[in-house]
Structure formats: structure tokens, C-alpha cells
């Protein structure tokens, strides 16, 4: 067991637990997009970033991955955290302006509009679908294809996979409705 403080509240946590898990357990809200408790954390959306003071060293870390440690001081809503989340949501809103989830998170972070040219993506590349297919369905039907701004979620050779068991976990877990099943067939974001 270790003791740490989150937003001034001193709590005990077991070693190996992440800041996000510890915070969730005591009901402190940290926004997330690429996190789900049933699958391994990934650290892609960065929305769960918090400020930590680690023996005097202050920095911003992704709480879904950062392991708790003795004496750690965590601020989940400091000014630098809020500023970063705002910046992230402005970027995501420009990329996926039609997603309700993105719109509501943007509002929550105080982002009314974005300064960037709007795109029409649905997928935010959070990778929840890829991980659920790998870890829960154990099928690894889909993966990330390409890199950088050309990255997308796809099946090999962009051909519908015969090995898909149609469990629909990917569609269920998708935060933006980018993956769907239509007439029993997997429809991936383009």
C-alpha cells in the first residue's frame, strides 16, 4: 500500500494501481476518451492528463498509465491541466465536429469553437476497438493501418474479414459511433 494525495485528499492505493484507477475509486472525475476499465490503458487521447508533484518535480502525466507512488501529490484540475485539455478538445473538435461525445466534452472543457479548418472524421483513433478485439474477443481482426495523419482502423487489405465473430464489441465500445454493424456486417470508418 502507498499513500498519495489527489486534489488534497489523502488516500491509500495498492502498488501497481494507476492514478486514474485510484481517482475513480474515490469518485474524483478525470475525463477520458481512450480508456476503458476492461482493457489495457493506451495513453493516446491525453485527456486524462493530470499534474503530479513527484518529490518536488512537477510535471504533467497521463493518469491512465502513471502508477501511484508513496507521497505523490496529484492535481486533476490545475490550470495547466485545464489549458492542455482545452487545447486537446479544440483539436478533436476540428477533426470530428459532428460527434456528440466530442461536442459535449468540448463544451465541458470550455471550448465553444475551434480555430482550425473543420474535417469530417468520425474516428478519433483512440484504439478502443483495436484493443477490445485483441484482448476481449481475442480475434485481432482489426488493427491500426498506416501511420501519422494517414492512420486508420482497418482489416487486413481493407477486405471484410471472415474471421470476425460479429461480437460487436468494437461498435459497442466506440466513443464516437465511428464503427457500426449494418445488416450484421462490420462497417469501419473510412
Amino acid at each position: 500500500m502507498v499513500t498519495l494525495t489527489i486534489d488534497g485528499r489523502e488516500i491509500g492505493a495498492r502498488e501497481g494501481e494507476t492514478i486514474l484507477e485510484a481517482a475513480n475509486r474515490i469518485g474524483i472525475y478525470i475525463p477520458t476518451l481512450c480508456y476503458h476499465e476492461a482493457i489495457s490503458p493506451y495513453g493516446a487521447c491525453r485527456l486524462c492528463t493530470v499534474e503530479v508533484n513527484q518529490r518536488g518535480r512537477v510535471r504533467l502525466v497521463a493518469s491512465c498509465l502513471f502508477p501511484v507512488e508513496q507521497g505523490l501529490e496529484v492535481k486533476t484540475d490545475s490550470e495547466s491541466v485545464r489549458k492542455l485539455r482545452k487545447g486537446l478538445m479544440e483539436l478533436l473538435l476540428a477533426s470530428c465536429p459532428d460527434s456528440e461525445r466530442i461536442q459535449s466534452l468540448a463544451r465541458e472543457m470550455g471550448v465553444a469553437e475551434t480555430r482550425f479548418a473543420l474535417e469530417e472524421n468520425k474516428c478519433i483513433l483512440c484504439g478502443l476497438c483495436v484493443r477490445v478485439c485483441q484482448e476481449i474477443a481475442e480475434k485481432s481482426i482489426i488493427s491500426f493501418v498506416g501511420r501519422g495523419t494517414k492512420r486508420k482502423v482497418a482489416t487486413p487489405f481493407f477486405i471484410p474479414s471472415e474471421e470476425c465473430i460479429k461480437c460487436q464489441a468494437c461498435a459497442y465500445i466506440c466513443p464516437t459511433g465511428a464503427i457500426r454493424f449494418e445488416e450484421g456486417k462490420l462497417v469501419l470508418p473510412t
Binding site: G87, A117, L125, G146
Partner: protein, 625 residues
């Protein structure tokens, strides 16, 4: 199992190694003439391979076959002047030689004892011809502790390396030192990782040694991705055994028995030479089981990278060693504890590994005498871009930028004005003239908003547009970002769009502020250093060259006349004799010939601003503004 004696070549003890070294040295006459040819990638590009063959042929023809030795080595550094040849033992230095020069070199300088004047290097400042390699200003101010051996050995011959004392340090480490003593020596030397961040090497080694786990890995990062840097390539090509020896010593200190060299596949010669080196080291019992009879086992394998800048990042490199995409992960748990296959892994750069045998052999005190308070030893820079003497240089840390660019680099070509020097690759920044007095080390470059990186040093003159440079790096990073985290993927894309707009004359008031906002999101939010440092090229150019941004944004003008959308080519009529060279060069028939001795006419509506006319006109009759 085959008895070891039958293998013949295997060295079973330090004394056998010493005996081998002595027998190799005894067989060699230091006074025997030797033609040392640089066959590094730079000189090869300039035709070195034909030169090597031609030398061998000519020497045979002139009947010197057994009197003169020909040695093809790795990179000597002065790439600008390649192909290079050094005639030993006197070290006569000829440059920019072609195969046509060879009969004369052989008959004049090998048969007789004369100098071929026209092939000597002439100091551009004084016009003075320089005969000996050591007197060439480019080399004179250097301290080539890592690169020096490149000019002495054939990298495909392990005996050459052993002849200069190679692997004797390994024997010393294995038989006279404990792992703790080695780590202490590295600590005392002050060695910091040469990959870019400058983390103290001993601390990594110590943590990895103490990390829990029976299997540990050592990794050599040779995925040299910084554009404008090629020193790792030259070390692996020119002196691969020094890297191997460092890795074996490090593995012994850490307690690892398995190593990897992750090298760019774009470096075929480096892949080949390190492969040959590993085979030869295995044959000699310097790699594999029971090295030199010490009981210590260590094996190394080569992994060729697939072409991804992000794999220079340690966690991305390790993911790719596991057969996955090169995607970084958070380093909240360090790779020395959980790295490759979740096991303790120690990763160092090529130059770091190659420094290890020197430190263990000559001692921490010797090493730490070189350099600055915070950064000991030397650094290899690739001095490139708009500078006269391009090539690889090695100087003690703390040498000033001005000494490097002017004393070693010989200044800016064509009488142009210096504008900036870019260090640290896409994570670094552009340093202006006011800061040329800076002594180069990890901390000073970081303070200037740039970085050491892996040692790229790209010189820019007045014809370089700093907004275009910022856009260039963003385009580079947009292609190279793995795409995993939002700030890096989306932020770099947006910065690139804004900067491209500015270079096309579509910049708006407030763009600079948006760029600065995004820089903050990248720095604070990105998962790995590719993202956290991505804004450095922009921030430093905004800081030091804000007037250029403003000229683009407010006046729609590119002061350096680089940004295509903002410039126009025109014919200076007084200077144009109507020779028609530009007419032929123009891909869009935008230029028409009027008559002999009359200036040509350029039709702006057809001009695509490719600059072909500007390049081809030797009379300066094409203006660009």
C-alpha cells in the same frame, strides 16, 4: 562438440589475444607505403569504388604489387573533398581524385617521391597548398578520438582492429575489472548518452544492472533518423568493432547476455560491415560463449529498421524489435526495468557504445579532461548545408559554434551571409548569429532552445527562409509521427497547415499566436519526445526570426526569395545575351528567344517558378525576388 583448437582462430585468453596482436603488428612494416582510400558512403557517391579498383590495377601494372599496400577504409570525414586518398607513412593528402589521376599518383608519389601539386588541398583563405593530412585546417582543430581509427583500418578486417589494440580493453574489463568497477569508471568519466538527451550513461547501466530479472538486454540504437546527421552510419561502416567491443563491455557490466543492433536498412554498407564484424568476432571467440575464456557469454543480432524516424525513440524501437509497429509507450516505468519483451533493457546510441572502450582503456580521468563542466568528452557533428567544408567533424564538447563553422567549416560559400545553424534535428532549433559564441554541449544548446540531438549541424545562409525551414520540419514530423496520441498527430498537422499557409501568402494576423498555443499543447500533452519537442524548430525561428514571419504574413513577401508562391523570376535585360540556355531548361516554354544578342522574354503566366532558368544561367541574368 568440436574441440576448440580445431577451430584454429578462437582466442582463449587475454595472453592469446596479446600474442595475436603482436604477431599481426610484427608482420606489418610501418614504413611500407600504403595507399589509404576513403570508401565511406560520401566518397563512394563521389566515385571512390572505381578509384580503389583503379589504384590496385595501376600499382600492379607499375610493378609495385608487393611493395605498396592498398587499404580501403571507412569515412575520413572530409566528405566535401572526396574521394580522398592518404599516402602513408608520410600522410600525403590528395583530394577530389578521379581514376584518371591515378597513374600520375602512382608514378610520381609512389615510384618516385614527388608531390602531385594539383591534387593537394588549397586553403581557400590563403591559397596555400597543403601537403599533409594533419595540416589541413579541417582536421587540425579536431580531436578525433572516435573517428580517428576510421582512417587506419579496413573495417572488414578484424586483424586491423586488433593491430591498433582492439579488444584488449575487453580483455582488461573481463579479467581485471568487476562490473561495478566498470560502471564506476563510466560514472567518473562523465559520459552522457550521445543519442540526444544526454542522460548519464552510468545511471542507466546501474539501474539496469540492479533491475529484477534473469534476462536482460543491451541494445545499440543505430536507427539514425535525424535528417542531416550521419555519424552513426560512419562509425558502423568505418569501425564496427569499436561499437561491438563497447557493447560487450557494457553487457558484462550490466549482466546481459543478449544484444541487439537496430540499424537503418537505408544504410546497406553499415549493415554489411557490422554483420561481417559480428561473424569475425564470433570466429575469434570475442562474441558467443565463454568470451576470451572468461566464462562470460554474449551474443548480438542485427535488426534492420523499416524506415520510421520515431523508432529512434527507445520504446518505439523496442516495440519494433518485438515485431510490432514503432509506436512509443509511456516511460513512467523505465525501459531499464521493463523494456524489450518487458525485461530490463539498456539502450545506448552508437557513439555512446563506441566511447566505452576508450574510457575503460584510457581511464575516466583522460576522458573527463575533455569537454565542459556538464558534458565530458568529444562530440561528432555532421557539419552540412551552406558551409564550405562539409563533412563529419569531432571536437571536444565546449568548442564554440563559431570555431566549428568558421575555423573547421571554412565559413559560408559564395561570399553569402550566415543566417542560422540548425542543431538537434526536428527536436532542435535554429541558432542565430548572435549566439555563435555558444560553447556546444548538451546544456548550452538546450538553453538556446535547441538540442544536441544526434549531432546534426546544418548551416543556413541568407538564401534560406526560416519560415520555410519551420514548415519543412513540420512536414517532416507530420510524415514521421506515429499517429498514436492526439496532440502530436492533430497538433503537428494543424501547425503544418498554418505554416504552409504562411509560406503561400495566406498567413493571417494571429497565426503566430495560434502556433505558440499549439506548441504548448504539444510540449505538455504528447506521449513521446517526438511530440514534446516538435515545436522547437518553430519556437526558435519565431524567437530569432520573427521579422521573417511578419514579412510573410503582413507583406506577403519572402525576404530570402524561397517560398515559391511569393516570388517571381524575371530577366535582367542588361545582363542577358540571349544565349538560350534558359529557354532549353524551361519545362513550360515560358521563355522565348527573340533574336541573337537580344534578351529573352519570360512569360509570367506560364512560369511555374521551378527555378530551372535561374540555375542554368551562369551570367546572373535571371532575377529572383
Amino acid at each position: 562438440m568440436m574441440p576448440e583448437k580445431v577451430l584454429g582462430k578462437r582466442i582463449n585468453s587475454p595472453s592469446e589475444l596479446e600474442a595475436l596482436e603482436q604477431s599481426i603488428v610484427a608482420k606489418r612494416d610501418p614504413d611500407k607505403p600504403c595507399v589509404v582510400l576513403c570508401a565511406g558512403t560520401g566518397c563512394r557517391a563521389a566515385g571512390a569504388e572505381e578509384v580503389v579498383d583503379a589504384f590496385r590495377e595501376e600499382i600492379k601494372q607499375q610493378g609495385l604489387g608487393d611493395k605498396v599496400e592498398v587499404k580501403s577504409t571507412g569515412c575520413h570525414g572530409f566528405c566535401e573533398r572526396g574521394p580522398l586518398v592518404v599516402l602513408r607513412p608520410k600522410k600525403i593528402f590528395y583530394q577530389q581524385i578521379t581514376k584518371e589521376d591515378i597513374p600520375e599518383i602512382v608514378s610520381e608519389s609512389l615510384v618516385n617521391d614527388n608531390i602531385v601539386e594539383r591534387l593537394l588541398y588549397a586553403d581557400p583563405a590563403t591559397g596555400e597548398k597543403i601537403v599533409y593530412e594533419d595540416d589541413v585546417p579541417f582536421y587540425k582543430k579536431q580531436t578525433r578520438i572516435l573517428l580517428g581509427a576510421n582512417g587506419e583500418i579496413d573495417p572488414t578486417e578484424i586483424d586491423d582492429y586488433i593491430a591498433i589494440g582492439g579488444y584488449s580493453t575487453l580483455a582488461k574489463a573481463l579479467f581485471q575489472m568487476s562490473p561495478e568497477e566498470i560502471i564506476e569508471e563510466v560514472k567518473q568519466s562523465g559520459l552522457r548518452g550521445r543519442g540526444g538527451a544526454g542522460f548519464p550513461t552510468y545511471r542507466k547501466w546501474e539501474s539496469c544492472r540492479h533491475a529484477r530479472g534473469a534476462i536482460k538486454y543491451v541494445i545499440c540504437n543505430a536507427d539514425e533518423g535525424d535528417p542531416g546527421a550521419y555519424q552513426d552510419r560512419s562509425l558502423l561502416e568505418g569501425n564496427p568493432h569499436s561499437v561491438l567491443e563497447g557493447m560487450i563491455i557494457g553487457a558484462y557490466a550490466i549482466g546481459s547476455h543478449e544484444g541487439y543492433i537496430y540499424v537503418r536498412n537505408e544504410y546497406p554498407l553499415a549493415v554489411r560491415h557490422i554483420g561481417i564484424a559480428i561473424e569475425q568476432a564470433i570466429e575469434y571467440g570475442l562474441l558467443g560463449e565463454n568470451i576470451l575464456g572468461s566464462g562470460f557469454d554474449f551474443g548480438v543480432s542485427i535488426n534492420r529498421g523499416g524506415g520510421a524516424f520515431v523508432c529512434g525513440e527507445s520504446t518505439a524501437l523496442m516495440a519494433s524489435l518485438e515485431g510490432k509497429i514503432g509506436e512509443p509507450r509511456a516511460k513512467y516505468i523505465h525501459t531499464v526495468e521493463k523494456g524489450l519483451w518487458d525485461r530490463p533493457s539498456n539502450l545506448n546510441n552508437v557513439k555512446t557504445w563506441a566511447s566505452v572502450p576508450l574510457i575503460i582503456n584510457k581511464g575516466a580521468k583522460w576522458y573527463s579532461q575533455m569537454g565542459t563542466e556538464g558534458t565530458k568528452g568529444t562530440m561528432i557533428f555532421s557539419l552540412v548545408g551552406k558551409v564550405n567544408n562539409t563533412g563529419l567533424i569531432e571536437v571536444p564538447m565546449g568548442t564554440t559554434l563559431r570555431e566549428i563553422i568558421y575555423d573547421i567549416g571554412g565559413g559560408i560559400p559564395g561570399g553569402k551571409k550566415f543566417k542560422a545553424v540548425q542543431t538537434g534535428g526536428p527536436s532542435g532549433g535554429c541558432i542565430p548569429e548572435e549566439l555563435l559564441h555558444l560553447p556546444v554541449d548538451f546544456d548550452e544548446l538546450t538553453k538556446a532552445g535547441s538540442m544536441m540531438g544526434s549531432g546534426g549541424m546544418i548551416v543556413m545562409d541568407e538564401d534560406t527562409c526560416m519560415v520555410d525551414i519551420a514548415r519543412y520540419f513540420l512536414t517532416f514530423l507530420e510524415e514521421e509521427s506515429c499517429g498514436k496520441c492526439v496532440p502530436c498527430r492533430e497538433g503537428i498537422k494543424r501547425m503544418g497547415q498554418i505554416l504552409t499557409g504562411i509560406t503561400q501568402g495566406k498567413g493571417k494576423e494571429g497565426d503566430i499566436e495560434i502556433l505558440e498555443d499549439l506548441a504548448g499543447v504539444l510540449r505538455d500533452g504528447s506521449l513521446c519526445t517526438l511530440g514534446t519537442t516538435a515545436a522547437n524548430p518553430i519556437l526558435t525561428t519565431i524567437r530569432h526570426f520573427r521579422d521573417e514571419y511578419e514579412a510573410h504574413i503582413k507583406e506577403k513577401r519572402c525576404p530570402a526569395a524561397v517560398c515559391q508562391e511569393l516570388i517571381q523570376y524575371s530577366i535582367i535585360e542588361e545582363k542577358c545575351p540571349g544565349c538560350g540556355l534558359c529557354v532549353k531548361a524551361c519545362p513550360t516554354q515560358a521563355i522565348t528567344l527573340v533574336a541573337k544578342k537580344q534578351p529573352v522574354i519570360l512569360d509570367q503566366s506560364k512560369c511555374i517558378k521551378c527555378g530551372a532558368c535561374y540555375d542554368v544561367c551562369k551570367l546572373g541574368a535571371v532575377a529572383k525576388r
